[in-house]
Symmetry: C2
Subunit: 124 residues, 2 copies
DNA sequence: CATCGATATTCCCATTCGGACATATCGAGG
DNA sequence: CCTCGATATGTCCGAATGGGAATATCGATG
């Protein structure tokens, strides 16, 4: 049985593709944000309800896809853990900004579609 | 070997989720548009480079997910083929409008990210 | 130098996804 | 009533996805 993720209504996916090898979307952004917050890939993965492996693969994709690493990780010792590089912080910030701008820009249309949808659903 | 689809840069995926059972994204929108243009599910599928079955599954999802059918299809005779219902046309139009509004809203950020990306890629 | 916590990496396996293919169905028209 | 073109569906199979577990690695610290 699949995990029952809560459904995010309205603007649910905004993906920006910068090249053949790199894009940033909601999942990657959330992961980056959680890494920044927790300072750990494994903890971020846990909070997102995904396996460490999956999170690690995503981090790889982020780092290798972009020209420079967005997430920096070090193992061993006191400094172990992960954090965002300055490029990573900028990418994340820009993405959040785009999400907000998009929400503002399409709010009315979403409302209209929602209304149409509700309308159609009620009348059997 | 997987099909080499051309990569769409910039805003590549905009998905609007209206309920647990329905969302509209770029693939579905393109399919609807091609159905409207060609008057045929199979022809639309061919142009999108996907199997008829996949297109049919998508049409099912569209029709069952939304309260009312968005795509109408009839088989046999002269009138055979498929077309959009008025609800389908409205959904498609709204979606295209949202795409445009989004592009306008995030253009600058995309540029900035693109520049950052290019910058990072060049310096080895 | 043993421990600890977190990253890094590789196998193995179940599930899902999707394509190819095969039919079945339908309805106008010859 | 047979053909034609397009929709409607099911089956089979290989590819891709993703999880879980098992290891390996690293470095500060006691």
């Amino acid at each position: 049985m699949a995990k029952a993720r809560p459904v995010k209504l309205g603007l649910s996916h905004l993906r920006i593709t910068l090249s053949e090898n790199f894009y940033i979307g909601p999942g990657r952004a959330d992961l980056m944000e959680l890494i920044a917050e927790t300072g750990s890939i494994s903890e971020a993965a846990k909070r997102m309800g995904m396996s460490y492996k999956r999170a690690w693969v995503l981090v790889q994709a982020l780092n290798e896809g972009f020209g420079a690493p967005l997430v920096e990780a070090s193992r061993g010792g006191t400094a172990q853990g992960a954090s965002l590089t300055s490029a990573g912080r900028e990418v994340l910030e820009r993405y959040r900004g785009m999400q907000e701008a998009t929400r503002r820009a399409i709010g009315r249309d979403v409302e209209a579609l929602s209304a149409l949808h509700a309308d159609m659903s009620t009348r059997k």
